[in-house]
C-alpha cells in the first residue's frame, strides 16, 4: 500500500511528487499516457506569470507571486531553461489604460514586485516592433519564459530518482474506498493507497466525481498557437499581452527560451478534452489579433502550429481541497497553473498534513539535477569536452545543434522516453525549422539502439503513434 497516489503526471502532479520525495513516504504517480507532461503542460504559453492578473481574493491570486518566485529558484536547482524577460500588458486606448491601472492595483494587492506603468513612447523604445497605436503599458519585470515540459520532466525525474514510483500508461478507471484508503483501478491493474491526489487536469472533474459530490464543471478550453523561426529575428524582447478579457489573457506575442517567437492562444470551449487539433479559422483569428500588437509579424516563418486544452472551469478558481476523506483535489488548474505549480505543491502538503498524513523528512535528499547542453559550452572548452565525451561531437539535430551525447544522456535519465517527441522534450531535437525532417530517422535509430527496441516499436508521440510499419521488400531479405 502506498502512502500517497498522485493521479496525473502533468506539472501539478510532478511538482507535488518532487516536494513529496523529500519525505519518508511511499508515493506512486499514475499517468495514463506514455510519458510525463503530455496534457496542457506541454502545450501552453510557457510563461512564468508575474501575478497581476488573478483577483486577490482567489487562491490563484494568493499563490501566484510565491509560485513565480519558487519557479525562478527551481529552474536553477533543476537546470531548466528559463529567461526572465518581463511582461508588458499593452493599452490601445483610454479604456485599456484604465484596465492597465486596474491590473497595477491588483498586482499590488497580490504582492507583485517592481511593476511600472509606461507611456507609449517608452513602450516603443523598449519594443520597436510594437504597434504605434499603443499608448501605454504595464511593465512586470518579475516574469519570464520557461521550458514547460522540461520543468515538469525535471521535477518528476528528481522525484523518481529520490524514490517516487512513476507508472506510465496507467489510466485510472475506478476509485473505491477501502478501510485504510483507496483501491485504484486502472485499465491494467490495481493499486492501493491511503491518500489519493487528483491532479488530472482536464479530467479532474471525472476523477473528483468518482468519490465526491459534483462541485465544479470543467470547460475544456482549446488554445491554438504559432511558433515562428528564429530567422525573423527577435520580434519582441518581453512577453507582450493585450489587456485581458473574460475569455482569458488574450493573444500574446512572446519570445521563447530558444529565441523563437510564440504567438497565441485563442480561446474556444471544446467538447472533447483531448481535441488538440488546429483549425484554419482559429489560426487566422490568432494571426489577426496578434498583428494588432505587432503589425509587421511574419507568420510565413511559421515552423509549428499546436493547440493545448486547458482545464478552465465554472468554479472561477483553482479547486484545491480535501473533497472527501483521504482525497485531495488539485483540480481545475488553469492559467496561471504552471507558475503556481511549485506553490500548489507546498499548499497541498499543508492540506495533507491537516488531513493526518505524517511528514518525516529524509536525512538526505538531493533536489537538484543538471544536464549538458552542448550549445551552452563556451567555445574554448568544446574541444576538451568532446575529447572526453566523443558523442557530443556528433550533431544530430542540425537546426538546434543537438548532439548525440545529449540524446543518449536524455534516454538514460530516470524516466526513459519511448518516442521521438519524448526525446524532443528532453533534448530539444526536432524543435527547429526542419521539424525533424533530417534528424527524425537518426533519433529513431539512436532511441531503438539505446533501449534495445526494434525501430518499428519507436513511436512519434503517444501510444499507437507508430512511424514505421515494417520492412520493405528488399529490407526483408
Amino acid at each position: 500500500m502506498f502512502d500517497v497516489a498522485i493521479l496525473g503526471a502533468g506539472v501539478s502532479g510532478s511538482a507535488l511528487a518532487y516536494q513529496l520525495s523529500r519525505f519518508h513516504l511511499d508515493v506512486v504517480v499514475l499517468e495514463k499516457e506514455n510519458d510525463v507532461s503530455l496534457g496542457a503542460s506541454r502545450a501552453n504559453t510557457a510563461i512564468v506569470h508575474g501575478g497581476y492578473d488573478p483577483p486577490p481574493d482567489t487562491l490563484m491570486g494568493h499563490l501566484n507571486v510565491d509560485g513565480a518566485r519558487m519557479c525562478m529558484e527551481l529552474v536553477d536547482r533543476l537546470d531548466v531553461e528559463f529567461r526572465k524577460t518581463g511582461s508588458l500588458i499593452v493599452a490601445f486606448d483610454d479604456e485599456d489604460m484604465k484596465e492597465v491601472h486596474n491590473l497595477y492595483d491588483r498586482g499590488l494587492q497580490n504582492g507583485v514586485p517592481s511593476m511600472e506603468i509606461l507611456d507609449g513612447e517608452e513602450v516603443s523604445r523598449r519594443e520597436p516592433n510594437l504597434s504605434k497605436e499603443i499608448i501605454g503599458a504595464l511593465w512586470v519585470p518579475e516574469s519570464g519564459v520557461i521550458n514547460p515540459w522540461e520543468f515538469t520532466l525535471a521535477m518528476m525525474e528528481v522525484a523518481v530518482r529520490e524514490g517516487v514510483e512513476l507508472k506510465l500508461c496507467e489510466k485510472v478507471i475506478g476509485l473505491k474506498r477501502q478501510d485504510k484508503g483507496f483501491l485504484i483501478e486502472t485499465e491494467r491493474g490495481t493499486y492501493s493507497a491511503r491518500y489519493v491526489v487528483n491532479a488530472t487536469g482536464v479530467h479532474s472533474e471525472k476523477i473528483h466525481n468518482m468519490v465526491a459530490e459534483p462541485a465544479f464543471h470543467i470547460h475544456p478550453t482549446r488554445g491554438q498557437y504559432y511558433l515562428l523561426d528564429r530567422s525573423v529575428g527577435e520580434v519582441v524582447n518581453s512577453v507582450v499581452f493585450q489587456c485581458p478579457s473574460p475569455l482569458g489573457k488574450g493573444v500574446l506575442v512572446s519570445p521563447t527560451i530558444h529565441y523563437n517567437t510564440l504567438v497565441g492562444p485563442d480561446s474556444e470551449v471544446v467538447e472533447d478534452c483531448e481535441n488538440t487539433s488546429t483549425t484554419r479559422e482559429a489560426l487566422d483569428d490568432v494571426a489577426r489579433q496578434a498583428k494588432r500588437s505587432v503589425p509587421s509579424l511574419q507568420l510565413g516563418s511559421n515552423i509549428r502550429n499546436f493547440a493545448g486544452v486547458r482545464a478552465n472551469s465554472d468554479y472561477g478558481d483553482f479547486y484545491i481541497k480535501i473533497s472527501a476523506p483521504y482525497f485531495l483535489d488539485i483540480a481545475a488548474i488553469k492559467s496561471p497553473g504552471l507558475t503556481c505549480a511549485p506553490r500548489i505543491a507546498t499548499y497541498a502538503i499543508e492540506l495533507l498534513r491537516e488531513a493526518g498524513l505524517d511528514f518525516k523528512e529524509k536525512e538526505t535528499w538531493d533536489g537538484t539535477r543538471s544536464v549538458v547542453r552542448f550549445k551552452e559550452i563556451p567555445e574554448e572548452e568544446r574541444e576538451a569536452f568532446i575529447r572526453e565525451n566523443p558523442l557530443y561531437g556528433r550533431v544530430i539535430c542540425r537546426c538546434e545543434t543537438i548532439t548525440e551525447g545529449e540524446i543518449v544522456a536524455a534516454i538514460h535519465r530516470p524516466i526513459t522516453p519511448v518516442s521521438l517527441d519524448g526525446i524532443k522534450r528532453r533534448a530539444g531535437t526536432g524543435m527547429g525549422r526542419c521539424q525533424s525532417g533530417f534528424c527524425g530517422p537518426r533519433v529513431l535509430e539512436i532511441l531503438a539502439r539505446e533501449t534495445g527496441k526494434a525501430t518499428e516499436d519507436i513511436l512519434q508521440d503517444k501510444e499507437g503513434s507508430h512511424i514505421l510499419i515494417g520492412d520493405t521488400k528488399e529490407g526483408r531479405v
Binding site: N302, I303, I386, C434, G437, D461, E463, I469
Partner: protein
C-alpha cells in the same frame, strides 16, 4: 585531419561539393578540405536509387549512387582531404582568411583557417507547418525526402495507404516507390494549376501507375489521433483559397509532402552572405562568388535545381573561380557591374549580377519562369529600352529550369548598371 591552413574548404560532399572540389584541384589548388556531415559522401544522391541521372552530363542513365560514385572515384587518390561525420556549425569571414568551425567525434571542435570557402550544403524540405495545414498532429506525415530515406536507406516501410501533397519531383518519385513496395497511393494533389515536377516524372511515376494528379487542389485538414486516419482535399480558386463545397475525403494512414525545397543558408547568413529572397540562396556574381569576398556557392544551396547535371556544371565553375581567387588574389579592378533584374514573368536568375570584365566569351544565366508558356516565346534581356539579347523557346514551365548564354559582346553594349529579363510571347 592535419592542422594546416587550407587554400579551400568545401562545405558539403553532395554532387555540388564533390564537383567543386575536383574542379578546384584541376585548376591548381593543392590544399583542399571537403567537410561532409553524413557518414558517407554523395549527399542526397545516396537515397535517390531511381535512374535518370547523368543523361545530360555523361550521356547515359545512372542511378543517384552511381552518379555520385563517378565523382567519389575521382576524388580517391586526388590528394583532396575529406572528413565525414563532421558538422560545420559556424562560419566567419575575415579579410584574408575565412574560419570554419567544425565538430566531430573524431576530431573534436576545430576552427579551420582557409583562403576560400565553397558553400555546398544543399537544401531542406518545406514542412507541413511552413504551409500551415491545420488539423491534428499524428504520426504518418512525412516530408517526401524523409520518407525516401526510411524506404531506400533504412529499408523500412512507412505506410500502406498514401496521399501525396505537392507534385515536386521527390513526391512523384516516391509515389512510384511506395506503389512498387505494395502501398496504395490514392492521389497526388497540387495547389498550383501546373506541376512543379519534370514532365517525364509525371508520366513515369503517376500515369504509368494510374495515380490521379489533381491540380489546383490542396489538403485542408488532417485527422487522426495517433496515426493519420483521414485527410480533407479541396479545390482552390485562382487565389489559391479553398472553395467551400469541394471537400473530398481520403482514408489514408500516410501523407507525403513534396511542397518545395529551401536552400539551407543559416551558415551563409552568419558569415554575412547576402541572400536573394527570390532563390532563398546567396546573391552571386558571374563566377558564383557571393557578396562576401572569397565565399562561393553552388548546387542547391544556391538555388534549387531539377537536374543534377546542371549542379555538376555549376559547381565546376565555382571550383574554378575559387581556385582563381586563391591563386590570383581578389579582384582589384571591378569595372562595369551589371545587376540582372527580373520582371514579373521571371521568378529568378542565377547569377544575379555580372562583372563584365570577368566574362571571357559568354555568360550562362539560369532562370525560372513562373507560369507555363505553351506558345513560342522569347526570353528577352533589355537595358531599359534597348533589347540586348533575345532567346526563343517553344515551351517553358516553372518546373524546368531554363538557361541561356549571353555573349560578352552583347554585355559590353549594356548601358547603365541594370539588365532586365522578361518573357514575351513571340510576334506572329
Amino acid at each position: 585531419m592535419t592542422r594546416q591552413d587550407y587554400e579551400l574548404i568545401v562545405i558539403g560532399a553532395g554532387p555540388a561539393g564533390l564537383a567543386a572540389a575536383l574542379s578546384a584541384k584541376q585548376h591548381g589548388l593543392s590544399r583542399i578540405l571537403v567537410i561532409e556531415r553524413d557518414k558517407e559522401l554523395g549527399g542526397i544522391l545516396n537515397q535517390c536509387i531511381h535512374n535518370g541521372f547523368g543523361l545530360h552530363y555523361f550521356g547515359e542513365e545512372l542511378t543517384g549512387p552511381e552518379y555520385a560514385g563517378r565523382f567519389i572515384d575521382q576524388l580517391e587518390g586526388s590528394g583532396i582531404e575529406i572528413v565525414c561525420d563532421t558538422m560545420v556549425i559556424h562560419l566567419e569571414n575575415g579579410d584574408d582568411w575565412r574560419i570554419v568551425h567544425a565538430m566531430s567525434t573524431e576530431n573534436g571542435y576545430q576552427c579551420l583557417k582557409c583562403r576560400a570557402v565553397i558553400l555546398a550544403m544543399g537544401c531542406r524540405e518545406r514542412t507541413r507547418f511552413a504551409i500551415q495545414i491545420p488539423g491534428s498532429r499524428p504520426a504518418g506525415i512525412f516530408n517526401a525526402g524523409t520518407a525516401q530515406r526510411y524506404v531506400n536507406i533504412e529499408g523500412k516501410m512507412i505506410g500502406r495507404r498514401v496521399i501525396i501533397l505537392g507534385s515536386g519531383d521527390i513526391g512523384l518519385i516516391m509515389a512510384r516507390r511506395m506503389t512498387l513496395e505494395g502501398a496504395k497511393v490514392l492521389a497526388c494533389v497540387e495547389l498550383l494549376p501546373y506541376s512543379g515536377g519534370l514532365n517525364r516524372n509525371i508520366v513515369q511515376c503517376l500515369h504509368d501507375y494510374d495515380i490521379p494528379l489533381y491540380l489546383s487542389h490542396t489538403i485542408t485538414n488532417i485527422e487522426g489521433r495517433n496515426r493519420v486516419q483521414r485527410v480533407t482535399v479541396q479545390q482552390v480558386d485562382e487565389n489559391r483559397r479553398p472553395i467551400p463545397g469541394t471537400e473530398t475525403y481520403y482514408d489514408v494512414d500516410t501523407v507525403l509532402l513534396s511542397v518545395g525545397l529551401i536552400p539551407e543558408n543559416e551558415l551563409s547568413r552568419e558569415a554575412g552572405v547576402k541572400i536573394d529572397r527570390r532563390t532563398s540562396g546567396p546573391f552571386v556574381y558571374e563566377n558564383l562568388e557571393t557578396s562576401e569576398k572569397g565565399i562561393f556557392a553552388c548546387g542547391n544551396v544556391l538555388h534549387v535545381h531539377d537536374l543534377v547535371d546542371y549542379v555538376t556544371e555549376e559547381s565546376q565553375a565555382a571550383g574554378k573561380a575559387a581556385a582563381a581567387f586563391v591563386l590570383d588574389g581578389a579582384l582589384t579592378d571591378i569595372g562595369h557591374v551589371i545587376e540582372i533584374k527580373t520582371e514579373p514573368t521571371v521568378s529568378y536568375t542565377v547569377p544575379q549580377a555580372v562583372r563584365v570584365n570577368e566574362v571571357a566569351k559568354s555568360l550562362r544565366i539560369f532562370l525560372r519562369v513562373n507560369k507555363i508558356w505553351e506558345e513560342t516565346s522569347h526570353i528577352v534581356f533589355r537595358d531599359g529600352d534597348n533589347v540586348i539579347a533575345r532567346f526563343k523557346r517553344d515551351y517553358m514551365a516553372p518546373g524546368e529550369m531554363e538557361n541561356v548564354n549571353v555573349p560578352r559582346v552583347l554585355l559590353d553594349r549594356v548601358k547603365g548598371d541594370m539588365l532586365y529579363v522578361s518573357i514575351e510571347e513571340a510576334q506572329r
